[in-house]
């Protein structure tokens, strides 16, 4: 493979300085980056290994009732943190529905946010891809695109963001803490990922050198714990990216929804928060009709980007189901097949999480 420099900074400041230079990339677990490097899709000159930085692997309960998750916490550690899973069950469920146990043990929270699309044309270095090489064209647009975007896409890019974790996070108003050349700042997760527009090569709001150091969930997010689910339809039962997924979270008081949160995965270049659809549910009873209307509202702007019109109908049905599951109440423990439509079937005996 291409020769590259490997640096292991001792402090966050050193890391930011090292990564701010052109051709540098942060390395955490490398579960995505190493594949990209092996495939010649990403060819960094310098890897800045952040895995030895102190203080980024903690799950902290904040005084205001929120939680702060260090960027180097592994997916598995976060999902299996009993207090976290109880407070933010849909997030734990999403984490456990992603990848494989081995990958979850390695992958980090910060890296998960920045994983790249699974668009095959992005990974195929011989294909044209505006995301990989700005202005080169998009071979996915008229290619094999049944899994591509139905929301927020442009003629320049129809790729989706593959994360499960980000879907409930964006629903729950997660905030991303970033250390950059000009110090620390924070942005809403919803602002982190960009839609492609005319610049699909610019995937996030991060500037050169920016290092995600933590993800925060506000105290208010815990208010949904009793009615929060993640649901993910896949082409196989496990170890597959979502065809479409949804996170649904409700606060129900006296038989009425006080507040609703809804986000979709696998449908756009970012985890898709469906705010307009959430409004449908404010101060109404959690009924099938209300959920149907919500689903229609959530997909109002959807349009197929190729051979994927089915994803729009699938997304509507997933929204209805996820809301119904959330309304029914968060189960006491996460099922053996997390987020699966088959979560409760007896055939799940091979797949204890």
């Amino acid at each position: 493979m291409k020769q590259f420099d490997y640096v292991r900074p001792a402090t966050v400041a050193e890391a930011v300085a090292a990564a701010a230079q052109p051709g540098a990339a942060y390395l955490a677990a490398g579960t995505n980056l190493l594949d990209l490097m092996k495939g010649g899709v990403s060819r960094p000159d310098r890897l800045v290994d952040v895995t030895h930085l102190d203080g980024l692997d903690q799950i902290e309960c904040l005084a205001d009732g929120g939680v702060r998750i260090g960027a180097l916490v592994s997916n598995a550690d976060l999902a299996h943190d009993a207090h976290f899973a109880k407070s933010y069950p849909a997030v734990a469920e999403a984490l456990l529905s992603g990848a494989s146990a081995q990958l979850r043990n390695a992958a980090t929270i910060g890296g998960n946010l920045l994983q790249r699309t699974r668009c095959a044309y992005f990974y195929d270095a011989a294909s044209r891809c505006n995301k990989r090489e700005a202005g080169s064209g998009c071979d996915a647009r008229d290619g094999e695109n049944r899994t591509h975007a139905v929301l927020g896409w442009s003629e320049n890019c129809i790729a989706t963001h593959p994360s499960d974790f980000c879907v409930p996070l964006v629903a729950l108003d997660a905030v991303v803490e970033i250390e950059g050349r000009n110090g620390r700042r924070e942005i809403a997760l919803d602002e982190l990922h960009r839609l492609p527009g005319n610049t699909p090569e610019r995937e996030s709001a991060l500037e050169p050198g920016d290092l995600i150091v933590a993800v925060r969930l506000p105290a208010a997010a815990r208010g949904f714990a009793a009615h929060a689910r993640y649901l993910k339809v896949r082409d196989r039962t496990s170890y597959a990216f979502a065809v479409v997924s949804a996170a649904a979270a409700l606060q129900i008081e006296n038989g009425k929804i006080v507040e609703a949160r809804l986000a979709l995965g696998g449908v756009a270049a970012k985890p898709w928060r469906a705010r307009a659809a959430e409004d449908v549910l404010r101060n109404v009873a959690p009924t099938a009709d209300a959920f149907q209307e919500t689903a229609w509202r959530a997909l109002t702007d959807a349009k197929p980007s190729g051979d994927n019109a089915f994803k729009i109908e699938l997304a509507r049905r997933i929204v209805v189901r996820a809301l119904s599951l959330a309304a029914a109440g968060t189960p006491a423990r996460i099922a053996a097949l997390p987020a699966s439509p088959f979560a409760s079937t007896s055939g799940a005996i091979h797949a204890r999480a």
Binding site: E144, D235, A240, R317, S340, P341, H350
Partner: protein
């Protein structure tokens, strides 16, 4: 345990000492500890690393390679291209026998398919070779790629599979269809699939003068050796191939492919040992795959539900430069007693690596279409699918009229159905739900696979210390040959398995034939049987002719070998240990060779097949369309079972392949570029543990006196047949939606649910 009779073929008496026992894998601990040496684990001194550069176009030619840039990269030793390579002794385009396929070994700059090797970079490290290959930055003259089942003018190939006639018929199909009360006419499509063995193709090659040492996983040591000898113009005895373990082959490691030849060429070019291991994505091209098919089935039945005609046509593809045609329609030859059967094939040429043998080539693709169509026909007739199959049970092989050498399919149906609980199945689809509201469906399929045999040799030795040896260049590709063949060897030598040194996996041992066609245990087992009998006969001669032996005068006919002793058959109190016999004769050991081969007379007289019945339960989310198999029961009759533990494992594997065929596997090819877009195990879906339901494989007792002396049929591939159709039929039964394009995807069900 053999009884010896010099006047006729040895009859086989068994005392249950080894064959039939569920021994655990003798190589299991080695594998679990990581001590089993696979090809790529070998690192001879001075070894260099070779990495292939492969074409990103599917058709055209390479116009330039930046060899200078690759050479400049630190650690790169040499770059092998079509202009700079060792010459081969023969043109790799020449087909010297039907088992020779054309390969790309840099003989020209033409590109015939995506991922074709176009150069090899040899370097001191894998990393340097990898980067060197990237730095070649090939330029191409690109022609439009031929992709898919409608890529061009179709033609009728001269043969399909390995020399099967392209068309077969018996009776008048059109008349049968015309006379039918019920008819179906349906088209089924199956996708291109890739073997995806866990272990990629790999070779470590070392030249020493004109001698060649090769470590390489192969399912066919001698076929590979002969091909290497031919290509490099060296004598067979100058080549040594070791292949003690394969990390799966599934047909892709049966014949010598281009990449390992490139490894040998690279070693010759640089004069040092070279290792070449394919990257996962490089396995989607030069090492074979299963071609896509489009199959049309027309079936007629009378008012009683008896078939009147069965017409099965398959369209498939081959490469633009060689011929292998998935014999899918042949699946209709053997199962159902239609008075009129016609099978036919046609093909188009596409820019792909030549399709080859993969997990029941033809049988699997044909089976999912046939079993779906039979299910559709049963429904059209309003008859339970099992009852329909029994009504059309073939008492003789339908296409030839030959009797079966044995056929316990009825018992398979009965035992499988009973274990599964089939009798409670509602005839109508979409009748069952579970407690969570998921749709539940039950489907079945009939399994069948021919009982094949190739030719093999074995060498048996009995030693003065009371031990024995059995030598045969057999292949353990994960199926358990190290164990099952050693069990046969122990029985044939009349020794405890721990007293038998069983040698396999090396080309300096007698030729075991190919580990393919589900024929390895039968073929190698027959050779072991024959060698064992021969060496016991020699030992018995020594004893019976020696007046100091208690066996003196017993004659071979009167001796049996058991527990390291020869015993008089008529008086079991009289016997003598092997050690004593050899010591008195003052010989260190006796040895003998034996051969195994199919019996042409029996093959002429009988149709020989393994059979089975597979029952599957699926659940389908009624709104979301996601499918999950929740239960599978297979009942298989495959003659003598040597090791039920290994066989169960193979049958499970086959059943999992079947569900994979129905629900998961598909190479997604870009219709413009001809490149496979999901050439990795993340996106080319095979079942993961969570997809695999509780499995049950019943081994139905079957005695076959005709297939071979041991009565063994194959079990390697039969599991995929029947299973794929059973899952597809269960999806229909759950939903009422008949999907005829495989794998069954969510979108095919979603809007129809």
């Amino acid at each position: 345990m053999p009884e010896l009779n010099l006047t006729s073929a040895p009859a086989h008496l068994r005392h249950g000492s080894n064959i039939g026992q569920p021994l655990t894998r003798r190589d299991g601990v080695l594998k679990v500890r990581g001590q089993a040496t696979y090809a790529a684990d070998n690192h001879p001194p001075g070894m260099l690393f070779a990495v292939m550069a492969v074409a990103s176009i599917a058709r055209g030619r390479v116009t330039s390679l930046d060899v200078a840039a690759a050479r400049r990269h630190p650690g790169v030793v040499d770059v092998m291209t079509s202009d700079h390579k060792p010459e081969l002794a023969i043109d790799p385009e020449i087909k010297t026998n039907p088992f020779v396929f054309r390969m790309e070994v840099l003989q020209s700059n033409e590109v015939r398919y995506a991922n074709q090797p176009i150069a090899v970079v040899i370097a001191e490290t894998l990393e340097a070779a990898t980067e060197g290959a990237a730095l070649l930055a090939p330029r191409y003259e690109t022609l439009p790629a031929l992709v898919g089942l409608d890529a061009g003018e179709s033609f009728v190939p001269p043969v399909v599979g390995v020399g099967n006639p392209t068309e077969n018929h018996r009776g008048d199909v059109e008349a049968g269809l015309a006379a039918a009360e019920k008819q179906i006419d349906a088209i089924y499509e199956t996708p291109p699939q890739y073997h995806n063995a866990m272990e990629p193709h790999a070779i470590v090659a070392s030249w020493n003068g004109d001698s060649l040492q090769i470590d390489m996983p192969t399912q066919g040591l001698m076929l590979s050796l002969a091909r290497v000898a031919e290509l490099f113009g060296i004598a067979h005895d100058k080549i040594h191939i070791r292949s003690p373990f394969l990390g799966g082959g599934f047909g892709s490691k049966g014949l010598m492919a281009g990449p390992p030849v490139l490894g040998i060429m690279a070693a010759k070019l640089v004069g040092k040992p070279v290792k070449l291991v394919l990257r996962r994505e490089q396995m989607y091209g030069p090492v074979g795959h299963r071609a896509p098919t489009r199959q049309r089935l027309r079936i007629g039945a009378d008012g009683e539900g008896r078939l009147t005609a069965l017409d099965h046509h398959a369209r498939t593809v081959s490469s633009t430069f060689d011929d292998f045609y998935e014999p899918a329609a042949d699946a209709s030859h053997t199962l159902y007693a239609a008075p009129a059967i016609r099978t036919s094939h046609d093909a188009v040429r596409v820019n792909t690596g030549t399709p080859l043998f993969m997990r029941a080539p033809g049988e699997a693709t044909g089976s999912i279409a046939l079993e779906s169509a039979i299910d559709e026909m049963a429904w059209a007739c309003g008859i339970d699918p099992l009852a329909f199959r029994l009504k059309n049970y073939a008492e003789v092989e339908p296409i030839t009229g030959k009797p079966f050498s044995s056929k316990a399919l009825r018992a398979c149906y009965e035992q499988g159905a009973a274990r599964f609980g089939w009798a409670k199945r509602p005839l109508q689809p979409r009748q069952m739900r579970d407690d969570d509201g998921l749709l539940v469906g039950w489907g079945m399929g009939t399994a069948t696979f021919p009982a094949l045999m190739f030719q093999a040799e074995a060498r048996a030795v009995l030693r003065r210390d009371g031990s024995g040896a059995m030598e045969i260049g057999a292949h353990d590709m994960g199926q358990g040959a190290w164990t099952a063949l050693a069990q046969i060897a122990a029985d044939e030598l009349g020794l405890d398995i721990d007293r038998v040194e069983f040698k396999a996996g090396s080309s300096d041992l007698p030729d075991a034939g190919i580990a393919g066609g589900s024929a390895h245990t039968a073929t190698a087992g027959a050779a072991i049987h024959s060698a064992g009998a021969a060496v016991i006969a020699k030992l018995a001669d020594l004893a019976a002719n020696d007046e100091r032996s208690p066996l003196f005068g017993a004659g071979n006919a009167g001796v049996i070998a058991r527990d390291g002793r020869l015993i008089r058959r008529d008086d079991e109190s009289r016997g003598e240990g092997y050690s004593e016999i050899l010591a008195r004769a003052d010989v260190a050991e006796v040895e003998a060779r034996g051969t195994g081969a199919p019996n042409p007379a029996a093959m002429e007289e009988y149709a020989m097949h393994a059979h089975g019945a597979v029952f599957a339960e699926v659940k389908v989310d009624p709104e979301l369309g996601q499918v999950r198999v929740t239960r599978m029961v297979g009942a298989f009759a495959a003659g003598r079972i040597v090791n039920p533990r290994m066989v169960q494992s193979q049958l499970f594997g086959g059943m999992i392949w079947g569900m994979s065929f129905a629900l998961h596997e598909e190479a997604i090819t870009d219709r413009r570029s001809g490149r496979v877009m999901n050439a990795n195990l993340g996106e080319y879906h095979i079942p993961v543990n969570a997809d695999v339901p509780p499995l049950d494989a019943i081994m139905v007792e079957e005695h076959d006196p005709h297939v071979n002396a041991l009565g063994i049929k194959g079990v390697g591939e039969i599991g995929i047949t029947g299973s794929a159709g059973a899952v597809a039929n269960a999806v229909w039964h759950a939903t009422g939606v008949r999907v005829r394009r495989f794998p069954i995807r969510i979108e095919e069900l979603l809007t129809k649910l």
